[in-house]
């Protein structure tokens, strides 16, 4: 009969996970939700939440930040820790589930189980996060957004109909996310917009994260609206151009806002948005440009406030 074992070391965990049907469990949220919904396939559960290798939030000499895969979402949301955890990530973490769940749900679990519907994933990709993924005798480090490429999907990670892992995630059942790595460059401005159909602990119908760096580099990311995270190349170009000009009002006027929205509409034209029990694709297509515009303007506003202060 299957069992639940709490792995003493990372190596031991990876060894157990190499067995067919074994699954990692950190906070337990994904496993228990699956169980409640009759989707527990059985098999061994390997407890990894307590492993020191998967904990901690540290910054390197180059400013690179390493977040352990088993860090809880509530740790990410902790307000006293802005140096380690960017405010954008904090905002996304605070929007996740509810406080009682955030205390046990982990960063790695959120990426794997919630995937393209995750608020945290939007913020991480905007912050140019990479993920270090380990399995027995192997380690790889890839940009987080590269986990969503259909060509190398692992069918074992196929999503359910709940917006959880809405896309096949390029991560194998025997792999775990050891850490998430954020580059040293700290955004000068950030923006965050989330749309839900009602108040509490609701999955988002669209989440937009924006990060603007000192050199004008920008990332604008949408989750919860398609089967993968979506970036906005036209919007990002516009942001870069605006950030590089010193013209007064370049990022505040209504003309800029209108151009942002138009660029977002153009970017979305190439994307397939989803229809689910939150909202139809048409609704998402209509409101996401609004969210993008608001998030970018908020990012510029923060950037200006930061440079003024």
């Amino acid at each position: 009969m299957a069992e639940l074992v709490v792995a003493p070391t990372l190596d031991a965990a990876l060894e157990r996970l190499a067995a067919p049907g074994a699954r990692a469990v950190a906070g337990g949220v994904g496993v228990m939700l699956g169980r409640m919904r009759g989707m527990d396939p059985g098999g061994d559960l390997v407890g990894i939440g307590q492993l020191p290798e998967l904990g901690g939030a540290t910054s390197g000499p180059d400013g690179t930040i390493r977040l352990g895969g088993a860090l809880t979402i509530s740790r990410l949301a902790r307000p006293d820790d802005e140096r380690v955890v960017a405010p954008l990530l904090q905002a996304a973490a605070l929007a996740t589930a509810n406080p009682g769940i955030r205390l046990v749900a982990t960063l790695g679990g959120n990426i794997v189980d919630v995937g393209a519907a995750s608020d945290v994933v939007a913020a991480l990709i905007a912050l140019d996060a990479r993920v270090q993924i380990v399995r027995r005798h192997a380690t790889r480090t890839v940009p987080l957004i590269d986990l969503w490429t259909a060509d190398s999907a692992d069918p074992e990670r196929a999503g359910d109909d709940e917006g959880r892992s809405t896309s096949p995630l390029r991560i194998r059942a025997d792999e775990i996310i050891r850490s998430v790595i954020l580059p040293g460059a700290i955004p000068t401005g950030w923006g965050w917009q989330r749309l839900t159909l009602h108040g509490a602990m609701d999955r988002s119908a669209a989440s937009v994260a924006v990060a603007i760096l000192a050199d004008g580099e920008a990332r604008v990311v949408l989750t919860a609206a398609a089967d993968r995270p979506v970036r906005f190349p036209d919007v990002e170009r516009l942001v870069r151009a605006a950030a590089s000009t010193d013209l007064p009002g370049a990022t505040t006027g209504s003309g800029f806002a209108a151009r942002l929205r138009a660029a977002a509409v153009a970017d979305l034209a190439a994307e397939t948005l989803m229809t689910d029990d939150r909202a139809p694709a048409a609704y998402r297509r209509r409101v996401v440009p609004v969210l993008v515009e608001r998030a970018v303007l908020a990012a510029f506003s923060r950037a200006r406030a930061g440079s003024d202060g």
Binding site: G42, N98, G100, L197
Partner: protein, 926 residues
């Protein structure tokens, strides 16, 4: 007037989770049952194979309809209004989730596993998917003996419609729809049955002990005194526990099993057990040049689902109030209730008046816009005053809607402080609506008030405590005529062997009928005590009086002489009966119109007005209710705190179906699985400003009877919010709920933006039993006590704490981390124990609400604030709030709301919870 809804002890028991609900009960020898439910909406049952299930571990019985024959029941169908529901489906199934078989086993898990193993061979037939399909020519019949799928029909015509048409200058017409919803009691349907030598004994979560006992007696061919029903406090009712649901099934299966049997609905089963009626209403109204109603004409079509439950009452309730509390000289209303192959619809807080007011009040606003008149003025010009005739033609004696309207709008107008920053582009708007609901008429409540030999007084009533504070209300009614201190009075739980008949705890009738019956019983007791004492003293009855010290004395004694006195206890002992009691009966008779000789439809009306201010984001459709102001007619406030809780709860409960709740049922296969699929309002939906007032009759005014406040505001919530949205962004919505996709679709006039209500394509299934894992020994410390238990490590910690270790303060209404009722502090963190595998909690130190110290400031603050109604959610709230404060000692109101985001309260106690936590935080800081 007292200020406590529940006594401090009753609140404390709710705060600590020590109050025992039906779901907490266990009786010796009890087995557990699980239902095999239909996966399809309409089918012929070809065969049921129970062989595999019967051989599974722990299983003692697998019962199908064929097994019921041996019980020789008087009727194999039940229904407290229409007996149309089979105990177990025999030849055909009529809705998804209909019970087909029932498994009895040693544990719930064994019963569920075996239920999964029962094999059904069903031949799907054409299903009636909605009211249009039901009424279509040649539609398949849900019940062969119900032609046209008509469950019921009611109508009235009043006045000269032709003349009214001629006088009409402005008119409005259209269809108004409200979808089905679910009551979402956090405590699900639960019942335990045991057969004894004398008959049937049952413990059930029901709002109607007497009604259910009578129905069980009828079905099983028993005398009424052979059925004994115990009803502990309910973890929420809202109409959902108002008629027979599981009780006949469990009684039948217990008889076959020959042992006590307990059945608890899982959340997914709740959604197919009872619902709120979906409704479509055609309404047409006209006004004359003075903006006075000339006529209203309505056709109400409600979806009753596959079985009647309370449908006939809902149908009539909607018919009575759809034209509103207005002077309408001519009216014509038809109300039709139809059978469909959807789960049965039943009572829901507001019973039919919600659906009716959505049409009736919505159209008043549309007319106001058409005329160019202020909608408040339009209402003032038309609202009935005492002595006027209602649209039905009946005269209304005590009409107070105008006062409610004035109070609600004045409260909105006087709201202090700046309107919060709505954000760029957001628009705000205000709206108002009236609520009108009948009460069950006539209906009877009885009460017994008994003086006992230990000097205490026992109040016996079959009214059910479901968080509305009835025990406190009944105790106060007894005190009023006996002059005792509350400590001497005990209101016992309904037990049909000891507590007398009561029609039902619904229809907002408990306060009036309970108070009246208990007051009469107390007066009768007082009379008996004084009569007995007078006889002992040998003086006339008038010469003695009962004192607050529970002593009867001779009055008017000569100065200087000591008055002869007799303790009540001595009288009780002398009686030889162990008690002296008084019996009281209250019946709310309908007044008869002396002019027409007709009987009124309601003894009195629940009356209220709601005014709201909303913000709307015109670019996303997101609507927030910033302020809500409610004014309800109370007649006399029996209990100020209870009145406020009821009024605030009306508004909070009402916001759900207004803004997002929609039970998308389909014959093709889908129902929500859990509270992730179906959301109810959270503390984030609490308006920034929530003001309510319960209006009372002045000293020289009539109408001082307490009318009950359970439903006086809820019908007005949706139309008030819709009016405010119209005010903000200029769109008149006619379909509920007003979710962002629908609001934006209306603003942009683009229906493709609207969320689809088509839920076909997802299969309905009760989640299967999870595979087991090797047992492990788990060592915990819970509330300071060591615990050592053998568990499946894949079980949730909640299951271990509650089922294995008996910590009843840990509850699992949702099981998916949404509601917070399973919260415990585990190694310092207030977490969802339902989402924590027990195997990951080895050596954990756990605190439940039951382990809170007597002087815990949060526990005390909740008690002081009376921040509990049914109380099922409160232990989790306390622990989460406490934990948030420990993490963030300078937490403010916004922080408290964010912390309590995931703690759901269907009673709508959020404002009081917020006040309690703010008080605790302030006291903690000191």
């Amino acid at each position: 007037m007292a200020d406590e809804a529940l006594g401090a002890d009753a609140v404390d028991a709710r705060v600590r989770g020590t109050l025992r609900y039906a779901i907490d009960l266990s009786i010796p020898g009890m087995a557990h049952a699980a239902l095999v439910r239909s996966p399809v909406a309409a089918a012929r049952i070809r065969s049921i194979s129970t062989i595999r299930a019967a051989s599974m571990p722990g299983v003692s019985n697998v019962v199908t309809a064929a097994d019921l024959d041996g019980l020789h029941l008087a009727d194999q169908r039940f229904g407290t209004v229409v007996a149309d529901q089979p105990i177990l489906a025999r030849d055909r199934v009529r809705h998804i989730g209909e019970p087909i078989a029932m498994v009895v086993a040693t544990t719930p898990a064994e019963a569920w596993a075996a239920a999964d193993a029962v094999e059904l061979d069903l031949l799907a037939t054409l299903a009636v998917e909605d009211v249009d399909a039901a009424l279509a020519a040649g539609a398949p019949l849900v019940h062969d003996d119900r032609p046209g799928n008509i469950l019921g029909r009611a109508n009235f015509t009043n006045g000269d419609l032709a003349a009214a048409e001629r006088a009409t200058v402005h008119r409005s017409s259209g269809w108004y729809t409200s979808p089905a919803a679910q009551q979402v009691t956090l405590e699900p349907q639960v019942c335990i049955a045991r057969w004894t030598d004398t008959g049937l004994e049952m413990w059930a979560a029901t709002q109607s002990p007497s009604r259910i006992a009578a129905e069980l007696a009828r079905v099983f061919g028993l005398e009424l005194d052979q059925v004994r029903l115990h009803v502990p406090p309910l973890g929420g009712g809202y109409g959902g526990k108002n008629h027979a649901k599981l009780e006949p099934l469990v009684a039948a299966v217990a008889a076959i099993a020959g042992r006590p049997v307990r059945l608890v609905n899982r959340r997914v089963e709740e959604f197919v057990t009872t619902t709120k009626h979906g409704a479509r209403i055609w309404l047409e109204s006209g006004v004359d040049a003075d903006a006075r109603f000339t006529f209203r004409r309505a056709r109400i079509v409600m979806d009753g689902g596959a079985y009647a439950h309370s449908s006939p009452a809902v149908m009539r309730a909607g018919m009575l109030v759809v034209c509103g509390p207005y002077r309408v000289p001519a009216a014509e209303v038809e109300s039709v209730m139809v059978y469909t192959n959807l789960p049965p619809a039943g009572s829901f807080r507001g019973l039919g008046a919600n659906q009716a007011a959505w049409a009736g009040e919505r159209q008043v606003d549309e007319l106001a816009r058409e005329i160019g008149l202020d909608p408040v003025e339009l209402r003032r010009r038309n609202v009935v005053r005492s002595g006027d005739r209602l649209p039905t033609g009946e005269r209304v004696a005590g009409a107070h809607w105008a006062a409610c309207l004035d109070a609600a709008t004045a409260s909105l107008d006087s709201a202090q402080g700046p309107i919060p920053d709505l954000g760029p582009g957001r628009r705000s708007g205000i709206g108002v609506a009236l609520a009108m609901k009948h009460t069950m008429t006539p209906s009877r409540s009885e009460a017994v008030v008994a003086a006992l030999v230990d000097g205490t007084v026992e109040v016996r009533s079959s009214l059910v405590d479901m968080g509305q504070g009835l025990p406190g209300v009944l105790a106060q009614a007894a005190i009023r005529h006996l002059g005792l201190t509350q400590a001497r009075i005990r209101v016992i739980e309904p037990d049909t062997a000891r507590t007398p008949f009561d029609a039902t705890t619904s229809s907002s009738r408990g306060t009036w009928s309970g108070t009246t019956a208990v007051e009469r019983a107390a007066l009768a007791l007082r009379d008996r005590l004084e009569t007995a004492a007078a006889a002992r003293f040998g003086v006339p009855r008038e010469a003695v009086a009962l004192g607050a010290d529970w002593v009867v004395r001779v009055v008017d004694v000569e100065e200087g002489l000591e008055a002869p006195s007799l303790p009540v206890v001595d009288l009780v002992i002398a009686s030889g009966d162990g008690e002296i009691s008084g019996h009281g009966i209250a019946i709310n008779e309908a007044p008869v119109d002396p002019e027409t000789g007709t009987t009124a439809s309601s003894s009195h009306w629940h009356q209220g007005a709601v005014a709201v201010r909303v913000s709307v984001d015109p670019e996303t459709g997101v609507t927030r209710v910033l302020e809500a102001h409610g004014a309800a007619w109370a007649g006399r406030v029996v209990n100020a705190r209870g009145a406020r809780l009821q009024n605030e709860g009306n508004i909070l409960t009402g916001l759900g179906p207004t803004l997002f709740e929609s039970l998308e049922l389909a014959t093709g296969g889908w129902a929500p699985r859990d509270l992730l699929d179906y959301r109810i309002p959270s503390i984030l939906d609490l308006p920034d400003r929530l003001e309510t007032v319960a209006l009372e009759a002045g000293p020289n005014e009539p109408d001082k009877e307490p009318t009950g406040l359970g439903e006086s505001l809820i019908p007005a919530v949706a139309p008030a919010v819709a009016a405010a949205i119209a005010d903000a962004v200029g769109v008149d919505l006619r379909d509920l709920p007003l979710d962002p996709t629908r609001v934006l679709a209306a603003i942009l006039d683009d229906p493709t933006l609207e969320r689809s209500r088509d839920s076909e394509g997802r299969s309905w299934a009760v989640p299967g039993t999870a595979p087991g894992r090797n047992l492990v020994r788990l060592t915990l410390t819970v509330d300071g006590q060591p615990a050592d238990v053998l568990v499946d490590p894949g079980w949730s910690l909640a299951t271990v704490l509650r089922e294995s270790l008996g910590h009843q303060a840990i509850r699992q209404p949702c099981g998916v981390g949404t509601c917070g009722a399973c919260t415990a502090v585990v190694d310092g963190d207030a977490i969802r124990t339902c989402l924590r595998p027990a195997g990951l909690t080895q050596n954990a130190t756990i605190v439940t609400a039951a382990g809170l110290a007597d002087d815990d400031p949060f526990r005390q603050a909740f008690v002081n604030a009376g921040a509990a109604q049914c109380g099922f959610c409160i232990p989790g709230m306390v622990l989460v709030a406490r934990s948030a404060f420990e993490r963030e000692p300078d937490i403010d109101a916004d922080g408290i709301r964010r912390a309590l985001t995931g703690n759901l309260c269907r009673c709508g106690t959020y404002a009081r919870v917020l006040a309690a936590v703010e008080a605790a935080v302030a006291s903690g800081r000191r």
